[in-house]
């Protein structure tokens, strides 16, 4: 029983991380219907910048890291995405694949074998929650993702820009007619995704993970099923999808001795299998909106 509780708690923490990563995909998809395959390299670059400056001050370094990825995201949006206005979203999506290759190659040349600790304030401290011992950093990850999700949700519902964001993403043509700058919207979405990338990256690299290294660049894709399960256009869906995936993965991996008939390493496929199942029942994801096609 205690083991199950521990799995649930750890799974929730991992799920929080997945949720943050998934949110990065969802924000851009919601605003532009483009899947940003370069998100993983943003995560890596943001975390790397933070780790580089963290010996001076962690919070200062975090600010710098966020600034760098936001600027990079805005540059990408303006120079690359904007010039492809009016083109098919598939082309733009493939372009992000090209961008990912470029960024990862640059990262590989720069980072190489380095492993940089994040020097975050939570270090390797443990925390006792309901009788269960957990790394403090992981708990922080969970809390941060919840806070970010709730803030985003409130922003969408109640702030002026948030309202514009929602309006534009749900009724694109109407929004354009009303003069809401779709270009600004796209830039905003990319900037938010950039900031999320750095935060996700730093949290991924905290204890018990040893630090920022090249492997971080390819972890982001593992969060795609979470985004899809939640519904690619739903911000709360991304977080909840993340939690489902995180908890599910920990449970399957934890009880794998009872699941050997599914084959070794099943937990990796599990997330995608779960995603397929959800899609069969609800193609728009748990919180997505069904696309209404009016004749």
């Amino acid at each position: 029983m205690k083991e199950l509780a521990f799995f649930l708690l750890s799974g929730a923490a991992l799920g929080g991380l997945y949720g943050l990563l998934a949110l990065g995909f969802v924000v851009i998809y919601k605003a532009t219907h483009v899947l940003n395959f370069a998100h993983g390299s943003f995560v890596l670059l943001g975390a790397y910048v933070v780790a580089r400056f963290s010996s001076w001050s962690f919070w200062g370094a975090l600010a710098i890291g966020v600034l760098v990825t936001v600027v990079l995201a805005l540059l990408a949006e303006r120079l690359l995405i904007r010039t492809m206005a009016g083109r098919a979203v598939l082309s733009v999506t493939i372009m992000t694949v090209g961008l990912d290759i470029v960024l990862l190659t640059a990262a590989r040349t720069e980072i190489n074998t380095q492993l940089l600790p994040t020097r975050d304030p939570w270090g390797d401290k443990q925390v006792v929650l309901l009788g269960l011992v957990m790394p403090q950093a992981r708990l922080v990850a969970l809390l941060v993702s919840i806070v970010v999700a709730v803030s985003f949700f409130i922003w969408l519902r109640y702030s002026r820009w948030g309202l514009a964001f929602r309006a534009a993403t749900e009724k694109r043509e109407a929004a354009a007619l009303m003069g809401i700058g779709l270009g600004t919207l796209s830039a905003l979405a990319w900037a938010i995704a950039g900031a999320l990338a750095t935060v996700s990256g730093v949290l991924l690299a905290t204890y018990p993970y040893p630090g920022v290294n090249l492997d971080l660049g390819t972890i982001a894709l593992a969060a795609l099923p979470a985004a899809v399960i939640g519904g690619l256009e739903s911000a709360p869906g991304a977080i909840i999808g993340g939690l489902i995936v995180g908890i599910g993965q920990i449970l399957v991996q934890g009880y794998q001795e009872y699941l050997t008939w599914l084959g070794a390493g099943f937990h990796e496929v599990f997330t995608f299998g779960l995603m397929l199942l959800v899609l069969l029942v609800r193609p728009q994801g748990l919180f997505g909106q069904k696309e209404i096609v009016r004749a």
Binding site: R108, L115, P210, N213, T218, I250, Y255, H267
Partner: protein
């Protein structure tokens, strides 16, 4: 359009191609009347080196290559092989099977053998063709399925043998008794399966239970596996993972107060940079690695020679045991070529004939002594040394137990 001109051009191209091929393949007559195959001319012997320099294993690929180049330069400065200069023909396949197949076909008529192949999938895919082409080849993956008794050598014992040796040592070290549990945490795949087989062998011989958990390359959280191990009170845990995952696993184990000795299946799971991070203490205290390859800081004449050559070359590659292994691999390959030269036959067939009946090759401890005559599927070495991480030496690893063969391996039919 004039069809005839196209045909003429094609014909000229074809004739040219045929002439070039014959010129390359003839090997050139040499003064000392050694029969020569492709890649062997009067002044050079070309050998292939298929590796990953830009993909997921790029950093370790560069280290292996660096070692090989250190050997080749030094050997050429001392007369080369069979009076000829050795030349490495390097191809980067980026850990992609398609590119590996293409790379091999690009160089195959140009070289007398393939001195190194990095990547299990690549080696598996290329093995039939390498055998058909009668190329002597040395993959950098220590799985027994690659040893076909004819044209392949591995620079050390197979993973299974290493694990039996290492787990046996660790079990003695920790006073593991009958009925206790030992653990396995590893990536699924060929290597993971081989490592698990070694663990299960030791368990069977000693009457132990096995708690096992498979992990995936993108895993960053190991709550499940650690819980499995803690529940079972595993005293010794075999591990095969990426370096960051190793640190995460051991840190998580520490948090869960799991008191176990972790046994790494190969130096590849370790990276010296891990000792700069939060896991330093726990790695130094609780990890050992079973290895057939010398660590960078090894206390032998051969290792010192490599270190001297490395310093002189001004190489930018970080010091690590893979450089030693790369050096040794080239050294062994050259030894086979040299013997074939003495036997008067440097054709592919001649080299294989020499190889299959050669005396064991000794690299002065850089890798285990290899015996090529043991036959198909039989590990070419039965020895393992035990290494321990420490930040006090370059390369981060030092030897705590000289190469040995455990009883389980001696009696195990390996």
């Amino acid at each position: 359009m004039r069809p005839s001109s196209l045909v003429t051009r094609a014909a000229i191209g074809a004739i040219g191609a045929v002439l070039t091929l014959t010129a390359c393949g003839s090997g050139g007559g040499s003064a000392d009347a050694v029969k020569a195959g492709p890649g062997v001319s009067a002044h050079t012997i070309r050998i292939g080196h298929l590796t990953d320099l830009s993909g997921p294993f790029g950093t370790v690929g560069k280290a292996f290559l660096d070692g090989a180049e250190l050997f080749v330069k030094d050997r050429n400065a001392h007369g080369g092989v069979c009076g000829r200069d050795l030349e490495l023909v390097v191809e980067d396949h980026g850990y992609d099977v398609q590119r590996a197949v293409t790379s091999y076909r690009k160089v195959k008529n140009d070289v007398i053998g393939i001195e190194s192949i990095l990547g299990g999938g690549m080696a598996n895919a290329l093995l039939p063709e390498l055998t058909k082409d009668k190329q002597l080849a040395s993959p950098l993956t220590w799985t027994s399925s690659l040893i076909n008794g004819g044209n392949v050598f591995l620079t050390g014992a197979t993973y299974e043998v290493q694990m039996v040796n290492a787990m046996s040592w660790a079990a003695d070290n920790r006073g593991v008794q009958k009925g206790d549990t030992i653990g396995f945490v590893g990536l699924s795949g060929e290597v993971g399966e081989a490592v698990l087989a070694g663990v299960e062998r030791v368990a069977e011989d000693r009457g132990l239970k096995v708690a096992k958990a498979f992990i995936a390359p993108t895993d960053t959280d190991f709550t499940g596996p650690i819980s499995t191990l803690t529940k079972a009170h595993a005293k010794v845990v075999a591990v095969i993972s990426t370096p960051p995952q190793l640190a995460t696993l051991m840190s998580s184990a520490d948090s869960a107060s799991l008191d176990a000795l972790w046994v790494g299946a190969s130096p590849s799971i370790f990276s010296p940079s891990l000792l700069d991070g939060p896991a330093k203490q726990v790695l130094e205290d609780n990890l050992v690695i079973g290895s057939g390859q010398a660590p960078w800081a090894a206390d032998s004449k051969a290792a010192q020679k490599v270190r001297d050559l490395y310093k002189k070359s001004g190489s930018k590659v970080a010091p690590q045991s893979s450089i030693m292994t790369g050096y040794a691999q080239a050294e062994i390959f050259a030894a086979v070529l040299e013997k074939a030269c003495q036997d008067g036959d440097l054709t592919r067939e001649g080299i294989l004939k020499t190889f299959q009946s050669m005396d064991p090759v000794d690299t002065g401890g850089l890798v285990s002594t290899l015996d090529f005559t043991r036959g198909k599927g039989k590990s070419q070495s039965l020895e393992t040394a035990i290494l321990k991480p420490t930040s006090s030496v370059d390369g981060g690893l030092q030897q705590v137990q000289a190469a040995f063969t455990s009883d389980e391996v001696k009696n195990g039919g390996y």
